[in-house]
Symmetry: C2
Subunit: 444 residues, 2 copies
């Protein structure tokens, strides 16, 4: 029951949805969907997460409004608040950094649409401004619709996206390392600001990127901001095993999570890394209330508000395939390989082998947790679930996807966090200053 720092504790991130992860959450009477443009709202949410001593808040990204479904964005802007309108995630976490003290702050930035120099400089800056709390979720992006906002008709193919991503991250880390610790001298009398011998060109030479450096930002408090990744395909796993320090993943069952966990730790070791330096955090949607019955009631009320087309629009976007060509009241036929998120299609196909759903039913289901595991019940039940996965070799923590925000987040922090603390599974106070320290990751 001790919560000494030596003991392994659950790591908790919050997927920072404005109204909640349910596509219909913005319609729930308790949510404040209109406040997504107000800094004060993010101060409230991040402050709540910080009060709960969570490891980090996290923002996903997607460059543009999804319009894969039916080749128009109408279903999206009608029903899915978070996909229609948002603030730029990297910009938003910068503002959040400025108004929080301890919690880690991570955002997504795609290797397909920007430049290593810019990304290296942005995240190094956020790491400085936050005192070492920055994390970068590396994605390769999955939708051709996004490519069309960047002067291209379509994305690179899946393999090329990962080749580009690998070069991108190598160039970025080269830039982060271009200033040695101690290069800043600030010698006023001698007139030497920085030691040229401790600043190095990166000279990165790849097929996609050639980046000379050095970066014009000194080495940041964490050395390198924490690298997060969520690829689950073969190429994605290989990439994550090599670079990721935190891995997000969608795992519907304990068994699938255990298998993924073992596979990723093994792969990381095969790359010469310590398995402890890769934290695996499946997404989970906690629907918690004082009693299980009450939690089930919340779940049902959210499902009622769902527009099935919203779920199909979300899924179409993620797999980069227009599901509107199939009839709504029949089962989904087997799909050819898609060009978007392949692992997501595999999860859906696997589920459809056992659950006979029409496309409409699939849409309604998908608009909920999007293939992430739900944990519905009393505080003890949700804590039991988390403890089982954590002690059962299925995860090092969770990426929390709250169905309704801020309500579900408040309930989780009020009801589940103390329960985890009582069990010695979660910190009662921050012991570190940086995100690396929160996560138990070494400074590179």
């Amino acid at each position: 029951m001790s919560s000494s720092t030596a003991q392994r504790i659950i790591h908790l991130g919050v997927f920072l949805d404005v109204s909640g992860h349910y596509a219909s959450a913005w319609r729930h009477p308790s949510t404040q969907a209109g406040r997504f443009l107000d800094l004060s709202y993010y101060k409230q949410l991040a402050g709540l997460a910080e009060q709960g001593k969570l490891d980090m808040v996290f923002l996903s990204d997607r460059y543009g409004i999804p319009d894969v479904y039916g080749n128009r964005f109408d279903a999206t802007v009608r029903s899915i608040s978070s996909s229609s309108a948002k603030l730029d995630p990297v910009t938003l976490i910068t503002a959040i950094a400025a108004i929080t003290e301890r919690i880690g702050i991570a955002a997504t930035s795609s290797t397909s649409f920007t430049e290593p120099f810019l990304t290296a400089r942005q995240f190094a800056t956020i790491d400085h401004l936050s005192g070492g709390r920055a994390g970068w979720n590396v994605v390769t992006s999955t939708s051709d619709n996004e490519a069309r906002n960047f002067s291209r008709d379509r994305l690179l193919d899946h393999e090329a996206r990962y080749e580009r991503a690998q070069e991108f991250i190598e160039a970025v880390t080269g830039l982060w390392d271009s200033w040695e610790d101690g290069a800043l001298l600030l010698d006023k009398a001698g007139g030497v600001f920085a030691d040229a011998a401790k600043i190095h060109y990166a000279h990165y030479q790849g097929n996609y990127f050639q980046v000379r450096g050095p970066l014009d930002v000194p080495r940041s408090p964490q050395g390198r901001p924490v690298i997060i990744q969520a690829g689950s395909s073969e190429a994605g796993r290989d990439f994550a095993a090599r670079f990721a320090e935190v891995i997000f993943t969608a795992q519907p069952t304990l068994q699938s999570a255990q298998s993924f966990y073992a596979d990723m730790k093994r792969r990381a070791a095969a790359k010469g890394r310590s398995p402890e330096q890769v934290k695996i955090m499946p997404g989970v949607m906690p629907i918690v209330a004082e009693s299980e019955a009450e939690a089930r009631k919340i779940e049902a009320s959210l499902s009622e508000l769902v527009d099935p087309l919203a779920g199909l629009a979300l899924l179409s976007d993620q797999i980069n395939y227009d599901l509107s060509v199939h009839p709504l009241d029949e089962p989904l036929p087997e799909l050819q390989t898609v060009t978007g998120m392949q692992s997501r299609l595999q999860l859906v196909s696997k589920m459809l082998q056992t659950e006979r759903l029409t496309l409409r039913e699939l849409g309604r289901f998908y608009a909920g947790s999007r293939m992430h595991r739900k944990a519905v019940g009393s505080p003890e039940q949700v804590a039991d679930f988390m403890e089982e996965w954590f002690t059962g070799g299925a995860c090092d923590g969770f990426n929390l996807m709250f169905p309704i925000v801020p309500d579900s987040m408040e309930q989780f922090i009020r009801l589940v966090v103390p329960e985890l603390q009582r069990r010695g599974l979660f910190r009662t106070e921050y012991t570190g200053r940086t995100l690396r320290e929160h996560l138990g990751l070494p400074r590179p």
Copy 2:
């Protein structure tokens, strides 16, 4: 002497140098050169500017450490703090937005190295988070050294850079306009988040950029963040006349400033714009103290600390030409056309026609105000200078380049601002909420 809003007032921006605009400022005993990575320092500086009721703080940019001089960065990192090490400007103004209330916040972002979709989204986000205080200084970048951080050997040529810049800004404004005001419905009962009929594809088709849109950020408080530009070449002036709402410029004399002012107002009118919608703000370096003698003493003490190589490294970088090939103790020979900032070379050449300086002396001189006008003297003298330029058709305000920070800034706000207020030339309180309102610019 009334300060009614109808009266024309001086607009004041602050070029937010960490230690000051003098290359040697970081060596001055009063500066805190080591605090450039701390958010608390920017809170102090921006808070000071806000207390002085200034229109905006402004951050320049340059992508990488200058190494044009001698093809190495040694002189730069030894002597020029601001060019060696900084925080990403767009990221930094986001953090400043989060911790200030009223002052405008503007940063530089280059059209040569990023994508319109990203820039549109960043600045729209900052505009939302700041309640309408964002400005974007559009630059085309001037150094091949920067290009080498972006997978290219050299910059596009001068004309092509401006063609690309024009497409870039057209694509960005198209994205900003892709959401009509009122597109957000937030109709919970009806289940309609946003009105698809009020959200439009941008469908931008250029030679450099094809950007479909729509942006995934609703229209921001200012409609569009304020566009700032500083091109002074023929192509630069044409671009500014078409797009800029604030123009920064280096004007060493009243006469040159008057001529530039008249030319830019005329050009704006020729593009069908109201000349009042283009605010011309030359850079000025105020060195102010209780008495002129004391101000001259400060100036001399700063010059003493200057490393002439720092000035030559700065100038080499700006004109994209390595001055180290010329002997230090001889005058600069006439240069062929350079590929960097052409207007800057012209200013230098013009000065050298009347002032016979060796290259070493030029370096020492240039490391000061970098061809911007200095205003050295008592509060009355500096206010006289500003009044003369402002009422004499030379400017609509100034971009203040303080030689030592925060000292010169404190002195200016304590001594000159009240003097300007007494003369009815400057606001005594913010009358607007947005940067556009501060500047007297309409919402597009």
